[in-house]
């Protein structure tokens, strides 16, 4: 029997398995972000938007759309990917994955690919929901799609790492709740960092999420607080870092194998 160097069917099986999980919970997977997005529009768009009419020439309601999409993308990618790999660890079914003829490549492609796919689908749904509330123009649609994909993959990778690292459901929630949510809210999802006083503006520049949100916003409106080059390198750097961590994790068997 000839055994190929890459188990295409294995990776595809994991991907389909994860997407089936998504389909089973389709209603809550789709309804929740739509309701959340609408709420943000009501709260931020109407309440604050009535005080701030424009940011950098863009209507406030439209200005927050990229930030909202990023917020959803971060949380959905993290929770989907981390849960996807944590659950088999929790139930013990991970034995099959570890004993299968798959390497880290197939496992990551399957799990991270599925989590990223779900996030992209949700991002598009949020964009569609937002377009009901405000007129949206996208200056660089291809770049926007590419950015969406890159962010979804990066955060799904991060989620995958968290899922492997976590030994309890509390730990699974720890980074999303305590690290990512504050960084996103302080990362200019709902405002331009130019609005901040000088010192805080400098502090904000150490927040990596600022670069991600601004890069994404640039693909919409062609303007952002930070140069698109810096944003893109930050995003790619983050993606590369996650890849390295995953590689090292599997090489040492950390928290998966004894």
């Amino acid at each position: 029997m000839n055994v190929p160097g890459f188990n295409r069917r294995g990776a595809w099986a994991i991907y389909k398995f994860e997407m089936a999980r998504f389909r089973r919970t389709l209603l809550q997977s789709v309804v929740t972000p739509v309701i959340t997005t609408s709420l943000y529009f009501v709260v931020f768009g109407s309440a604050i938007g009535s005080r701030i009419s424009e940011v950098g020439g863009v209507a406030y309601g439209a200005f927050i759309v990229p930030g909202l999409m990023m917020l959803a993308l971060f949380t959905e990618s993290l929770s989907n990917a981390s849960f996807g790999i944590y659950f088999p660890k929790f139930t013990g079914t991970i034995y099959e994955l570890l004993s299968a003829p798959v390497s880290v490549l197939e496992i990551v492609l399957g799990y991270v690919g599925a989590a990223a796919s779900k996030s992209v689908i949700l991002g598009v749904i949020i964009l569609a929901t937002a377009s009901i509330f405000v007129p949206i123009r996208i200056l660089h649609p291809a770049l926007m799609a590419a950015y969406l994909l890159l962010i979804a993959c990066s955060f799904s990778l991060l989620g995958f790492i968290i899922g492997i690292w976590a030994n309890s459901f509390e730990q699974l929630q720890f980074i999303p709740m305590l690290v990512l949510t504050p960084l996103t809210f302080l990362g200019g999802a709902f405002y331009s960092i130019d609005m901040l006083p000088g010192v805080w503006r400098t502090v904000t520049l150490f927040n990596p999420v600022v670069y991600l949100i601004n890069g994404f916003r640039w693909t919409f409106y062609g303007a952002s607080d930070i140069g698109v080059g810096a944003s893109l390198s930050m995003t790619l750097g983050f993606f590369a870092l996650c890849l390295v961590v995953v590689g090292v994790t599997f090489r040492t068997g950390y928290r998966l194998k004894n």
Binding site: A20, T93, E96, S99, A100
Partner: protein, 312 residues
């Protein structure tokens, strides 16, 4: 022809310092059923887990059908099926989905006809559209076996396949294992039950504290297991074994109230009727009697203690 499984110098020390495997050497022939016996914590599951890629060995080499388990892990694992001891299933999946998933995960092209036959053989066909969470424990065990067989492995590991399983499933399992062996599958199983090893295995290995202390043909081992003991509870305690009973191997126990007679169960004339007649003639009364076959545990204990005496 390479061995189905060849293990040399396999050693595993866990981070906790536990020496789960101490330089184990083992060769499994193609097409045989090998029973691995040993008390809890002896290293049975660790041994299986290192071969299947779930535990990373500290040292040693594993070859499956001539393929190195590290360098050619894909070729190795494609040939291996594993039914672990714990019942771990994807509770939200249907039986059909989970079995199809397993087959694809191991890189095999879809084959609904094969999976149908597999599910029918395991009496799971009627339940194929049901979610696993709705199945009984025994049915879940069948699902795990179906998953392990879904990619047509040549080497099957069954880790305590009949622990906590009802009589019917146990008998089904034995039939299934025999059927698999007839189709050329090599089977390694761990068990606590002596009758299971006796019923199924061609060869038996005994593992204790991480060391493989014995690998023997079943029939040779069963001879050792064949020792039986008759215990007679006497009405009056005896000070010493009566001279009239000297032709039997007897021993007094429990302060002279019990008379123990060891005999070989495989001998057709074991001497019990003659012994009882003679006792009658001598007027030695007894209240009760029972016979006991030396259990696997006795064998373990004697093997392990012999081992202990050899190395102080």
């Amino acid at each position: 022809m390479p061995a189905a499984l060849s293990i040399s110098n396999l050693t595993k020390t866990y981070a906790s310092g536990l020496h789960a495997l101490k330089s184990v050497d083992l060769e499994i022939r193609k097409g045989e059923i090998f029973a691995l016996l040993g008390p809890n914590g002896a290293g049975k599951t660790t041994l299986i887990s290192t071969v299947c890629g779930i535990v990373t060995p500290s040292a040693g080499r594993i070859c499956v059908d001539g393929h190195d388990a590290v360098r050619e892990f894909r070729a190795c694992r494609t040939k291996i099926g594993l039914v672990p001891q714990e019942l771990s299933t994807d509770t939200f999946e249907t039986v059909w989905a989970t079995v199809s998933f397993s087959r694809e995960l191991f890189g095999r092209p879809a084959n609904p006809a094969f999976l149908e036959k597999l599910l029918r053989d395991l009496s799971l066909w009627e339940r194929r559209k049901d979610r696993i969470m709705t199945l009984s424990g025994g049915m879940k065990r069948r699902v795990m076996i179906a998953k392990a067989l879904s990619h047509e492995p040549q080497l099957l590991f069954l880790d305590e396949p009949t622990a906590g399983v009802d009589v019917e499933l146990r008998r089904d399992m034995w039939g299934l294992v025999r059927g698999l062996r007839d189709s050329g599958v090599t089977i390694i199983l761990t068990t606590h039950y002596i009758d299971e090893a006796e019923e199924m295995a061609d060869r038996i290995g005994v593992i204790s504290r991480g060391e493989l202390i014995l690998v023997e043909d079943k029939h040779a081992l069963m001879k050792q297991l064949g020792k039986k003991q008759l215990t007679l509870h006497l009405q009056q305690p005896l000070m010493h074994t009566p001279a009239g009973l000297s032709e039997w191997r007897l021993a007094l126990a429990a302060g002279g109230t019990e008379l123990h007679f060891s005999f070989d169960a495989s001998e057709e004339r074991n001497g019990i009727p003659a012994l009882l007649r003679r006792m009658d003639e001598l007027g030695i009364g007894y209240k009760d009697l029972n016979t006991r076959q030396s259990s696997l545990e006795d064998i373990f204990v004697s093997l392990v203690s012999q081992r202990g005496q050899l190395r102080p």
